[in-house]
């Protein structure tokens, strides 16, 4: 363990287990809450600046086409139009231009083409040009005046079709990474990866029962209710300000600076409140366009996507084709597990297939395991992250097969998982040995829960599944600024997507020993702090917590020095407790404790302003396992699957604010319900999206779901001062398999294609089996 995590007064061993805290573990009202319930909180499209223009994007109607020419002259001549941009307004990024940014290395040559098409339109909705005008009506008219000469090309959407010889080639110069490939051959396969250990042939030979199945999943969108929106303002001296809805304003700053050819520090970026991201707002779409338009017009430009644009032009997660094979002994020991995963990447490489391959069998301790993954280009928007990227897709398939094989040997599915569960020190399916983990604890809690013990009504079915996500740490910087009255400003750089301002303020208040009411948390702009990686990977309460605790310790260090000076005693004889400095070591008689307010009041005279700061690159994030139990009713006349009861059991390490941990469990589960039962993209024969709106892209509504019960298991993560594990992503990993398993229990039909929407379920009921080829 490096020093980067040693930030707390504790020893990093989760020193709080069972201890009574004043704030940590309570359900305090979030400090930013009133703004959100009164409509005062400002999201991406809520900012108005003087002299502001409206920007709009012209998008390709074709799924695949050469762009021969773009004529913007008529648009530019329209009165009220202040700027028009095309590919000519962005410098190309060199081949192999890859920079570490955010969580992944970024291929800027791909990104510049994704934000605005260059040689080809690669998906319906691909940006071709953009305008800024004095109002929306003129901007829209200007778009209609732009003439684009397209040469329409054949397109391909299905990943298996895209791998075949003769498929339309999306990127002619793509060379598959990870395959034996002769140079110059044209392919849509961007990458092949392989994980595992042992020898699956040996393992299968030992098995008494072997089951092999193929599955398909459809692309699904993160479904954030707030469309992408930003306001960009570039001034005559080449500096700029950007306001946007994002999961990472430092990352957005880096992308925009690169694409516009600016020094990073010339751009000052403020994250608005964000109306949902789930991974979909870790990338930029409108922002480089708005900045380029603003630079041309020298006026602020606001751009906001319509819901239709969100569906047509932003990255969903992959659809996939999956093959899984598992072998077990009659007494329930898994002897071998094998999988081949083919994920859609969209128009540019970068599906999360590697992570899917790693997580596929993570809930099992295996001697022989192999997962192979393919990253495949198709004529769709480049996929973006969606909550535990890659893992939900893979575990849908693997957890379905595990359920089927447990049934085949007559074993209870939770007992089966317990028999094969990994623990600390087990070799994971992707290589490293597991640190302290809570897989067994979640399985046992699920098994012993009232839900699992309650008999089903006739016709209902019950399913379970276990999911896993690594979680990450990353660069994080936080500051505590002491005010002269002893109250504290907590400046954070980790965008708050779901209430982490509360948890982080609570940790600060806990460390300082003061009232939560005295800590005011805020998300600063990019000029306020050192680098902060984006919010994602379930990292904020973990890494943000380490930074905040470190900043509090730094502040306390200074407070003790000031008290020592005030009393004229050695600083080693000062301790900090309950919000005050106390003299120890026999000095106590003459020295009354100094509360924070006293030290703050005199800070000018004792040395000047008092600030606590801490910057880290947090490592050693603790992974989180979750087990879900779900009951379903299936309406045999309509094919509609009703979720009647749902329980999420998941390891949080330590729940700083239990309500927001529960909220993550519930929200992820319901996204999974939508993924399992309704959500998919429907394309016509021209590769155009037919359901680009919430009416026909059906996410769960309030009446679709029951209460989602939650159980917070706490197996502390030793690398965090309070034992925190990230929790945000694991909840979306188990639902699809759990629901599919429940439907199998209810109907006796095993579905192998998502979503299990009413037409598909009804067709399967009528056909008497689960082999339903998709209607489209």
């Amino acid at each position: 363990m490096t020093d980067s995590n040693k930030a707390s007064s504790g020893n990093g061993t989760g020193n709080g287990n069972g201890k009574d805290y004043k704030w940590v573990g309570t359900r305090a009202v979030r400090p930013d809450g009133v703004d959100k319930v009164t409509g005062r909180a400002k999201f991406g499209a809520d900012l108005h600046l003087p002299n502001m223009l409206v920007g709009k994007v012209l998008r390709s109607p074709h799924a695949h086409a050469h762009i021969r020419s773009i004529d913007t002259s008529a648009a530019e001549a329209l009165s009220g139009v202040k700027a028009v941009i095309t590919r000519d307004d962005f410098s190309d990024q060199p081949k192999g231009a890859v920079q570490p940014a955010g969580e992944m290395t970024i291929n800027y040559r791909d990104m510049v083409r994704n934000v605005m098409a260059r040689e080809k339109a690669l998906y319906e909705g691909h940006a071709i040009a953009a305008v800024a005008a004095v109002d929306a009506r003129i901007a829209t008219k200007a778009l209609s005046l732009i003439k684009v000469d397209f040469e329409v090309l054949p397109h391909v959407i299905d990943p298996v079709a895209a791998m075949e010889d003769g498929a339309p080639i999306i990127q002619e110069d793509l060379i598959a990474d990870g395959m034996e490939q002769s140079p110059g051959s044209m392919t849509n396969i961007a990458k092949r990866v392989e994980f595992g250990h042992g020898d699956v042939a040996v393992g299968f030979a030992e098995a008494d029962v072997v089951i092999e199945r193929e599955f398909t999943t459809q692309p699904v969108h993160q479904g954030y209710i707030e469309p992408h929106a930003c306001v960009a303002s570039m001034t005559e001296d080449g500096q700029g300000e950007l306001w946007l809805s994002t999961q990472g304003h430092y990352v957005a700053r880096g992308h925009c600076a690169t694409l516009l050819g600016l020094d990073v520090s010339k751009l000052r970026v403020q994250a608005s409140e964000i109306g949902g991201g789930f991974g979909g707002k870790t990338v930029v779409y409108l922002e480089p366009l708005a900045l380029a338009l603003s630079r041309k017009a020298c006026q602020p430009v606001k751009m906001a996507m319509t819901r239709e644009e969100v569906f047509r032009a932003t990255g969903p997660t992959s659809g996939a084709h999956l093959w899984v094979k598992v072998g077990v002994t009659n007494d329930g020991r898994i002897t071998a597990a094998d999988a081949v995963l083919k994920y859609q990447a969209g128009a540019f490489p970068g599906s999360p297939v590697a992570q899917g391959a790693q997580c596929a069998f993570a809930p099992y301790e295996l001697n022989h395991v192999r997962t192979i993954g393919y990253d495949i280009l198709v004529n769709r928007p480049k996929v973006a992250a969606y909550r535990a990227p890659g893992a939900p897709i893979a575990e849908y398939a693997t957890e379905s097969v595990m359920d089927e094989i447990a049934e085949a040997i007559g074993m209870d599915p939770l007992e089966f998982r317990l028999k094969n569960a990994p623990k600390q020190g087990s070799q994971s399916s992707y290589g490293p040995k597991f640190p302290a983990i809570g897989c067994i604890e979640t399985l046992e809690a699920a098994r012993d829960h009232d839900h699992y013990q309650t008999p089903l009504k006739s016709g209902q079915g019950r399913g379970v599944a276990t999911g896993y996500w690594f979680n990450i740490g990353g660069q994080t910087s936080a500051t505590l600024n002491l005010s002269e009255d002893g109250s504290v400003a907590l400046v954070l750089g980790t965008v708050d997507v779901g209430g982490t301002r509360a948890s982080l303020a609570m940790m600060a208040a806990e460390q300082l020993g003061i009232d939560l009411d005295k800590v005011r948390p805020m998300i600063g702009d990019t000029s306020a702090l050192g680098y902060n990686m984006l919010t994602g990977g379930s990292r904020v309460t973990f890494a943000g917590g380490i930074a905040v605790v470190g900043a509090a310790q730094d502040l306390i260090g200074t407070l003790k020095e000031r008290a020592a000076k005030f009393w004229d005693i050695p600083v080693d004889d000062v301790e900090w407790a309950d919000g005050e400095a106390r003299a120890t070591n026999g000095y106590t008689d003459n020295m009354q404790p100094l509360p924070l307010q006293e030290i703050a009041k005199d800070m000018a005279k004792t040395g000047g302003p008092i600030v606590g700061a801490h910057s880290i690159n947090a490592q050693g994030a603790g992974p989180s396992f979750g087990t879900h139990v779900v009951d379903v009713d299936v309406d045999r006349e309509t094919g509609r699957v009703w979720v009647t009861r749902y329980t999420v059991v998941q390891d949080a390490g330590k729940a700083i604010h239990p309500s927001y941990v529960e909220g993550q469990y519930q929200g992820g589960a319901v996204q999974g319900i939508g993924w399992a039962l309704n959500e998919e993209y429907i394309y016509d024969d021209n590769g155009r999206l037919e359901n680009a709106g919430f009416l026909d892209y059906r996410v769960p509504v309030c009446s679709d779901v029951p209460m989602i019960d939650t159980v917070i298991v706490e197996v502390p993560n030793p690398t965090h001062p309070y034992g925190v594990r990230g929790v945000g992503e694991t909840p979306i990993v188990p639902p699809m398999a759990a629901i599919s398993n429940a439907v199998a229990d209810a109907l006796g039909i095993r579905f192998t294609d998502l979503p299990m929407s009413p037409p598909r379920v009804l067709a399967a009921i009528k056909a008497g089996n689960g082999d339903v080829t998709t209607a489209n």
Partner: protein, 81 residues
């Protein structure tokens, strides 16, 4: 000598070698030795991988320590959503 295991598709660039032993004390040393020994590996290897040292996962940490008996896995970089 630490035990180094390559996952994903790195072994394609190391003449099929998936496991090896190296005398290295930090991740940066590990990266340098690997890219020197196997020029087929990407020069920016350290930007493309996460490194697990005895089960604890590191990303972008040159100076994380590797003990003489450590088990080290090179994984693809982990990105969340």
């Amino acid at each position: 000598m630490a035990r180094i295991v390559l996952t994903g598709n790195l072994q394609l660039h190391t003449e099929g070698v998936k496991e090896l032993e190296l005398d290295v004390n930090t991740i940066r040393q590990l990266m340098r030795q690997l890219t020197t020994r196997y020029p087929g590996l990407p020069a920016d290897l350290e930007d493309e991988v996460a490194v697990s040292i005895d089960g604890t996962i590191y990303q972008d940490d040159w100076f994380a320590e590797i003990a003489p008996d450590s088990e080290v896995h090179l994984l693809p970089k982990i990105g969340g959503g």
